[in-house]
Subunit: 218 residues, 4 copies
Amino acid sequence: LHRCEAQIDALRECGRLFHSRGWSVGTSSNYSAVVSTSPLRLVLTASGKDKGRLNRNDFVLVDENGAPTSDGQPKSSAETLLHIAVAQELPAGAILHTHSAWATVLSDVYGEQGWFDLEGFEMLKGLEGIATHETSHRVHIFENTQDIADLASRVRPRLHGDGAITHGYLIRKHGLYTWGATVEDARRHIEVYEFLFECFARQLMLTGEIPCAAAAAT
Amino acid sequence: LHRCEAQIDALRECGRLFHSRGWSVGTSSNYSAVVSTSPLRLVLTASGKDKGRLNRNDFVLVDENGAPTSDGQPKSSAETLLHIAVAQELPAGAILHTHSAWATVLSDVYGEQGWFDLEGFEMLKGLEGIATHETSHRVHIFENTQDIADLASRVRPRLHGDGAITHGYLIRKHGLYTWGATVEDARRHIEVYEFLFECFARQLMLTGEIPCAAAAAT
Amino acid sequence: LHRCEAQIDALRECGRLFHSRGWSVGTSSNYSAVVSTSPLRLVLTASGKDKGRLNRNDFVLVDENGAPTSDGQPKSSAETLLHIAVAQELPAGAILHTHSAWATVLSDVYGEQGWFDLEGFEMLKGLEGIATHETSHRVHIFENTQDIADLASRVRPRLHGDGAITHGYLIRKHGLYTWGATVEDARRHIEVYEFLFECFARQLMLTGEIPCAAAAAT
Amino acid sequence: LHRCEAQIDALRECGRLFHSRGWSVGTSSNYSAVVSTSPLRLVLTASGKDKGRLNRNDFVLVDENGAPTSDGQPKSSAETLLHIAVAQELPAGAILHTHSAWATVLSDVYGEQGWFDLEGFEMLKGLEGIATHETSHRVHIFENTQDIADLASRVRPRLHGDGAITHGYLIRKHGLYTWGATVEDARRHIEVYEFLFECFARQLMLTGEIPCAAAAAT
C-alpha cells in the first residue's frame, strides 16, 4: 500500500471530516480511491473501522473483482462491488459512500417514487460540470438489499445513456454514493449533496409540503 | 486503578466525543468497563464530573454490589446498580449511558406505549449480531425513577427470554443505556442508536405522522 | 487582574465552549466571576469581544456599582448591572449570560405568558439542589429593554420570596442568565438549561402542541 | 500579496470557522478584504478552493475592474464584481459571502416577496450602528443569476438612498453577502445574520406560521 499513501491519507481526512459531521458514524460508510485502471486496483476502507479514526492499515488493496491483491490484508467492505462498478463504468478516481440522517430519511420518504429533484440551487454548481443554478438534478434512489452483487448489477446500466446517474445516488434507508476524478472532487460532492439534502429537507419541514407530494407521486 | 488505565482512557475518549455531540452535557451520563468478572469489578465514572473533561482520577472501582473496592475513592454514580445489572446478566465488557435530546424526547413521546420500533435501516447492522437491514428492532422504554435499585430489578428480567432487550434501552425523559463486549463496541452502539433516533425523529417531523401513532397506541 | 487569573481562564474556556455551540456568537453574551464580596468586586467580560477568542485582557474589574475599579481598563458590558444584581442578592460566585437560538425563540413564543415550565426531566438534577426529576421548574421571561438599570430593578425582587427565580431567567428575544457558586457550576447550569430548551422545543416541533398552548395561556 | 498577509490570515480563519459551521462547504463562498482604496485593490479568495483549508496562495489581488493585478495568480471567483460593487459604493474594508442552509431556504421561501424582516432581536445590535433591539431590519433578496455583472448593477443602486441595504443581502437559493469596516466586523455580521436566520426559521417551524405569511405577501 506504499505507493498509495497520499490517497489513503486523503481518505482518512475524509473520514475525520465526515465522522465529525455525523455522516459516517457507527463504523458505517466506506471510501475508495483508484490506484490503477489497467489492471483496476482500488484502495478501500477495511470492514468495520471507525471512520473518524482511520489508520493507514485500515485499508485494503483490491482487484477488479473486489478481491484482496495479497494475503494478510484486513477484510474489505461488504460493499466493495459497488465501488468496483463505478470505477469500471466511469472515469472516477475516488468513490465515497456516507450515511447521513437526511440521506437516510429522504431516501425513504421518496423511496416509493424512486427519486427527487434538486432544482435551482447555486450549490449545484459544486457538482463537476454543472455551470448554472438553472439545473434540475435528479437524485435516484435504489431499494436497499444485502445482495450487493445484485445491487451493483442494477446500478451499472443506470450509469449510462439517457437520464444516466451522473454524480451520485441514494440507497433507501442506507446512504449516498458519489464519486469524482480525485478524492478532493469526491469529497466536494459529498459536501454538496449533504448541503442540498439539508436545504431540501429543511424547506420541506418549513413549508410542510412534502409528504403529500411524495405520496401523490407514488 | 492502574491495571485498567487503557479502559479508563477509552472511556475518557467516549466522554470527549459524547460531550462534543451534546449527548453528555451538564455532567450527565455515566460510563463503565468491566475489569474482572469473578469477582465482578467495574471501573465507573465518579458522580458529577464533566464528561467532556474526564481525568484519570474521575473514576471509581466498584464491586458486585456497586460499593467502592477501597476507601478514598470519589463517590460513584447514583446509577451504579444499572451498570452492575447489565454486567451480571450479560457478557458485556462496557456499559455506556448517555442523555441526548432525541433520546429524551422520543422516550417521552412514546413513553405511554413503552416502546418504538426501528425498522429497515442499514445502520441497524451496527448493532452487534444484526446482519441485515430487514430487521425490526424494538427500543424499550422504562419509566424514570430515583429508586435505582427498583429500576435495576425491573431491568434485569427483561434482559432474558422472549423479546429480551438485546442491545440497549431508554429511561423516560432521561436517556439511553447500551453496552458491548468492549468499550469500542459499546461506543459504536451509542453512535448507532443516536443516529437512528435522529433519523426516526426527523422523519416524524417531516411527515407529521407520530403524535397520532403514539397516541393511538396508548 | 492578577489575582483572578484562574477565574478569567475558566470564563475564557466557557467562551470557547459556548461559541462553538453557537450560544455566544456575534460578540454577544457576557460572563462574570465574583472576586470578592465585601467590597463586591466582579471580573467581567469587556464589551464587544468575540467570546470564542477571549484574551486575558478582554476583562474588566468592576465594583458594586458596576464601575471599573481603575482607569485604563476596557469598557465593561452594557449589562454589568444585571451581573451586580445577582451577585448582591444571591450567594453566586459566577454569572453567565448566553444567547442561544432556542432561548431566543422560546422566550418569544412564551413571551406574553411570561414563563414556561420544564417538568419531569432527569437533566433538571443538573441544577444545583434539585434531587429528583419529579420537579417542575418554571423559567421566567422578562421583557427586553435597553434600560438595564430598570431591568435590574425588576429582576432583583424576583430573586427572593415565594416563587423566587432560583437558577436563571430569560430575557425575551435576548437570552439566558444563570449563575452558580463557581464558574464550573454556572457553566453546568448553562449546559443544563440549553439541553432542556433543546428537548422542550424539539418535542413541541414533533407534537405540534405549543403555539396553541402558549396562545391559550395569554 | 506580502503586505496583506494579516488580512489574508484573517480571511483564512473566517474560512475555517464558516466551513466548520457548514456555511461554506463544497468550495462555495468567497471572501475579500480591501487592501487600498485609491486605486481600489482587493485581496479575494481564488475560485474553487476548499474554504476550510485555505492556504495563503489561494488568494488573488484584483483591481477596480476585478482583474488580477499581475499575471500568474490563480483565477479569482466568478463573483468578484459583487465584491467590487460593495467596495466602491460603501466604506467597507471586507466583504464576506457564505452559503448556509437557512440562508438558502429562507431566501427561497420569501423569494417572491423579495424580503423578510428581522424584528425585536437583541442580536440585531451586533450589526454595526444598531443600538437597540427595537429595530426592524429588512433582509432583501435578489433573484439569482449567472450574469454577475448584471446582478452587480442591480445591487449598486440599492446600497444608497431610502430603504438602502445597509449591512447585507441574500441571493435567492444562493447565499448571503455582508461586509464591515474590517474582516472582524464582517465576520461578526456573518455570525449575527446566521444566528438571526436560525432563530427566524426555528420560530417559523415551531409556530407553523410562515408559508402562508409569505404566500399571502406574494
